[in-house]
């Protein structure tokens, strides 16, 4: 990181963690309340931080009692974790632009692009996996650069830009794949994405390892703190000498890299690449990061909150399915959980403000 050379004053500002920001953009004066509050405040703060964990544990216990033969089993744990690795990887990537104060609607189509492009290169053109993966990563980074060019340097709204870019990427994906599902990933990719260690497929460990890296970046590096600071108060960050534009560019590039990884993994895991799969990631990915922002570091997009949110959603849906629920409940549960979790966090915060 070159940012430490930009200003000496900035270092003083960012050695203390900046105040968290709510998913809606409102600053939350968390630290001030911690100092002034008594034991009740500490309890509420703890509850706010770990409410999602409690809900997850509560769900797991309830389902285990209701479904003793199917829910608390290794097979179900594998089911719950294996299907979510790709979602976790892309959601972790999505936190970066959000932390930087921008949004990105192009992440789903970018994953589909990475998946289909890998398939086109390896299956249709017989390019070996490693160079193919590198080409795909570079292509995704170029997309990230284009996103950041329009958003950061031209100043177009990130919502509009990434909405347009998402559509453009979808068109590009359909063009390179001839709109077809392409099957038959290289054997090594299939093995790397479907073989297991301790009963869990490798991508589960990859997603957790990436979550640890993202957590480390946000919590223990100057870059992470600069990014939060830039997202929460870009004007103040600029006045402090932080290279806000460059930080935002890095955020879009990191998302692009994560989408490339997610796409390649998805191709191996599914055994095929569907050019139209991108839209199916939008709601779960967005729900995961926003729901995740209500946990662990409430009011902030964060790594472990995101992982927790993904597992909470899939656990809830899986339990209901095992109980015999219909297919549409995935939509109901995801949508309801997102709205209720954000509402709950808002109410808790409002309650604290009134007290």
């Amino acid at each position: 990181m070159e940012t430490t050379n930009d200003t000496s004053n900035a270092g003083q500002h960012i050695t203390e963690e900046p105040a968290p920001i709510s998913p809606t953009g409102a600053l939350v004066t968390e630290r001030a309340e911690d100092v002034s509050g008594g034991s009740q405040h500490s309890w509420i703060h703890w509850l706010n931080k770990y409410a999602l964990v409690l809900v997850l544990v509560g769900l797991a216990v309830a389902y285990s009692i209701a479904l003793p033969d199917t829910f608390p089993t290794i097979a179900n744990l594998r089911n719950i974790t294996a299907t979510q690795s790709v979602l976790i990887i892309m959601s972790l990537g999505l936190t970066f632009p959000l932390v930087a104060g921008e949004f990105d609607f192009s992440f789903g189509p970018m994953v589909a692009f990475a998946s289909s492009f890998t398939a086109v290169l390896t299956v249709n053109h017989h390019v070996p996996l490693v160079p193919a993966a590198l080409i795909v990563i570079v292509a995704c980074l170029v997309i990230g650069l284009v996103n950041s060019f329009f958003i950061v340097y031209i100043g177009i709204s990130s919502l509009i830009t990434t909405l347009g870019m998402g559509t453009l990427i979808l068109g590009l994906t359909l063009a390179i794949s001839n709109s077809a599902v392409i099957a038959g990933p290289p054997d090594f990719l299939v093995s790397a994405t479907t073989n297991s260690f301790l009963k869990l497929p490798y991508p589960v460990y990859l997603s957790i390892a990436l979550a640890a890296v993202v957590w480390f970046v946000y919590s223990h590096t100057a870059f992470g703190r600069y990014l939060y600071f830039s997202g929460e108060g870009p004007k103040a960050a600029r006045l402090s000498g932080l290279p806000v534009d460059r930080l935002k560019t890095y955020a879009f590039l990191i998302l692009a890299l994560m989408c490339a990884i997610a796409g390649i993994v998805n191709f191996g895991r599914l055994g095929s690449a569907d050019p139209n799969i991108g839209t199916s990631f939008l709601l779960p990915g967005t729900a995961a990061v926003f729901l995740g922002a209500t946990a662990i570091v409430p009011g902030r997009f964060n790594a472990w909150g995101t992982v927790l949110a993904v597992y909470l959603l899939v656990t809830g849906v899986t339990g209901l399915q095992l109980l015999g629920g219909a297919g549409y409940l995935e939509n109901i549960f995801n949508g309801a959980a997102l709205v209720l979790a954000v509402t709950f966090a808002h109410l808790v915060r409002r309650g604290r403000a009134v007290e």
Partner: protein, 376 residues
Amino acid sequence: MRTISKPVKLTVGLAAAALALAGCGAGSTSAGSGGGDKAGAEALVKKASGDVSWTAPGDPIDISKFKGKTIWVITSDYSVPFIQTVVANMKEAAQVAGLKLQVFDGKGVTQTAANGIQQAVGAHAAAIEVLSVNTQFVAEAVKNANQAKIPVIGLLNTDPSQPVEKGADAEVTIDYALSGKELVAYAVANTEGPVNGFFLTLPSIATFDAMKKGIQDGFKEFCSSKCKLNIADLTEGNFKNETQSNTASALLRYPDTNWVFPAIDAMAQFAIPSITTAGKKGKVQLGSINAFEANLKFITQGNVQAVDVGNSNSWLGWAAVDRALRAMSGAKPDVVTVPVRLFDKDNLQGVDISDESQLFPGVDFRTNYKKLWGLS
């Protein structure tokens, strides 16, 4: 003592309501009957996996008076590969018949498809073909076409067992019920012991009701009373995610499941990884319909999918133009089917799965249609 605030009560209430609603739906279970009829299943599989045969869709017709006229085809979503194949062959057939073909892409939006029909009416189309767009969803636009006396032909919108759609002058489709029945017959014929099936369907699509009935009929006709069938209804907008999670959950909930039947190939590719992750590869097999290249590749690679039932989309394109010509000639409303064929590792051996003419050999439908049109 603090009381719970109204907003919190409301939130809890909403949560309870959402969960109650979520718990409402459940897959149904049915079974086979008696001792089963494995011989009957094997006979159907033998017939279904053989070459398809030609059946003339009617008497020869005089198409000379239609030369230069324009047929419009309104597609549900032109980015879908099989739709592109159907349309490409409609173009080829139209050119041979001396017609023009105007393509309108509905882009997956019903309203856009309705606009396409209105444009076709405004352009005085000779006939309008709606491909994978049910006329009931574009009722007003179809009504306008009817008032303008422009024939409307539905493509892949119904099953032969269902009546012609309201406002349509004809249907060209495949036999969805038979496709479902053939999948079950294949499962029975290739399974030691009872078949315990899991069928994933999209109830919002009318033709899948017919497929579901075909699957249920197949169980009743061929499977013993020990067989089980569980059904999951998925939503159209989220079927990719739902297929993965529902398949995984079903394998836990019904651990004796040995066959998974996703309604279409586009769903099958998401069911396969769930079966693999559950460690059930080799124990659970899969069958679906469409005969897409990717899915036929799964069969040849032995990747969970064992069977697929599909039709020639090239043939469907020619049949669509033939039906438009007949409707323009004043033929009575009718449902015409393009035959389906069952594919497994045996009849795919040595076949180039990317070449439709190798998948459906033995019938020169192009020459046959030309004869019916008086062109050869």
